[in-house]
Subunit: 223 residues, 2 copies
DNA sequence: CGGTAGTGTTCGCTCATTCTAACATAAGAA
DNA sequence: TTCTTATGTTAGAATGAGCGAACACTACCG
């Protein structure tokens, strides 16, 4: 079942990265992938060519890659695994939010479909992972929410913290340290210009956070 | 932490196999390993040489391998992982006994120490896995029990089924089908000669099982 | 003691994944 | 448009993991 011909850790990570970087129909540059995957550019080009001939991506010399339908399916499956595992680690095994990414990164390539569906069931078929990312359903459907970065919310506007968009454990920890937990009610008070810090009320307490971090705090806005 | 230089799936499986085959100080033949691991003989020799120079086994040309202390440590760690995972799958995720081996076989190479200790804790630091095998403790200690194969128990003698010593899901299922569950109280009634079937009472019900299967049903004997 | 059957090793290759160094192309500045 | 810098690609090599075919060693039989 999960023994497709080309299904190694590197392939899965490659497809996952392409999926993440490819908004809409934009082609993803090999060098961008090389950064994200921490591989040298030639390695990426090579993988792109191999996956092209496996029918998982459409690769064109000097023009980057896009996922084919087959590639997208695998990417979504891997993402489903990843996010379910993260949630499972938090809910069942007492992991802290900042610890789960690394662990899931390895496990997602080792678990069977049987395992994934067992934990999904145990968790009650969740659609949101502990970072607030949507969990693709088994058939590849994603919950859609219109979220805005905290950094773009006008003073006076507010909502609920819906997603902490970073896989860097340090940044995640920083967000929590600064008092921006998932599900927190937030209202922007002010923002300094020139990409300065944002001041906000979170659950009634005044908080401050830098611009680049605020970009990664996504808000489900309320009127 | 778990990023030792040479720690791949193949290495871990190799060490695990050597551990399992090496009773006492006997050297393990490369061809025996080649059978167990489902690899060709040259592959095994090759691995033996690589692990020799990594200091994990003592390999001597034409004389097979034995684990070094370092190799034994890794083997025990992998076995601990494997057995804890099996128990976890049964207890927490509703797996059937015959399903766990395969899944654990993959997961054991992907989980972190953090994960292993989290499930160990959740399970209450168990010392026996769902097949009745002892689970090595974190520092490598194994519960010792003196067990006898059902096939060697004289008629009239009995005890408790302590271990189902097979990793073949089919055989495992067969044992359960024939009415020999772990923890069952068993008393041998009779045995046919020439490696014939054993007749026994299990939890008061009369059961029959073939010789080769009875060899794999281990009994904690009572007087 | 010598020869053969069986066991174990070496050789030479392949594939996947990665790297560095050298080359090629595209795109914007002049 | 030409040139330069950015960005990408090929070439060539290494490593880990395997394989089949050919060779080497052991051990036992006579």
């Amino acid at each position: 079942m999960s023994d497709h011909p080309l299904q190694s850790k590197s392939v899965e990570n490659f497809l996952k990265a392409v999926y993440a970087l490819q908004e809409g129909d934009d082609r993803v540059a090999t060098n961008t992938l090389s950064d994200v995957l921490n591989k040298t550019a030639p390695s990426v080009t090579d993988m792109a060519q191999r996956l092209e001939s496996a029918g998982l991506v459409d690769y064109q010399k000097y023009r980057g890659v896009v996922l084919t339908e087959a590639g997208r399916e695998i990417a979504l499956k891997v993402i489903r695994r990843h996010r379910l595992i993260e949630l499972y680690l938090v809910r069942e095994l007492g992991y802290q939010l900042h610890e789960v990414h690394g662990e899931a990164e390895d496990l997602e390539h080792a678990v069977s479909d049987r395992f994934v569906e067992a934990i999904a069931k145990k968790l009650g078929d969740p659609v949101i992972d502990p970072h607030g990312d949507p969990i693709p359903s088994a058939d590849g459907t994603l919950l859609y929410r219109h979220l805005m970065p905290l950094s773009e919310l006008e003073p006076g506007r507010g909502g609920v913290i819906a997603q902490l968009k970073t896989s860097d454990p340090e940044m995640l920890q920083h967000m929590l340290d600064r008092g921006f937990p998932l599900q927190g009610r937030v209202e922007v008070i002010a923002r300094d210009p020139f990409q300065g810090p944002t001041m906000a009320l979170v659950n009634g307490i005044q908080r401050v956070v830098g611009y680049h971090v605020a970009e990664c705090i996504l808000i489900e806005t309320s009127p």
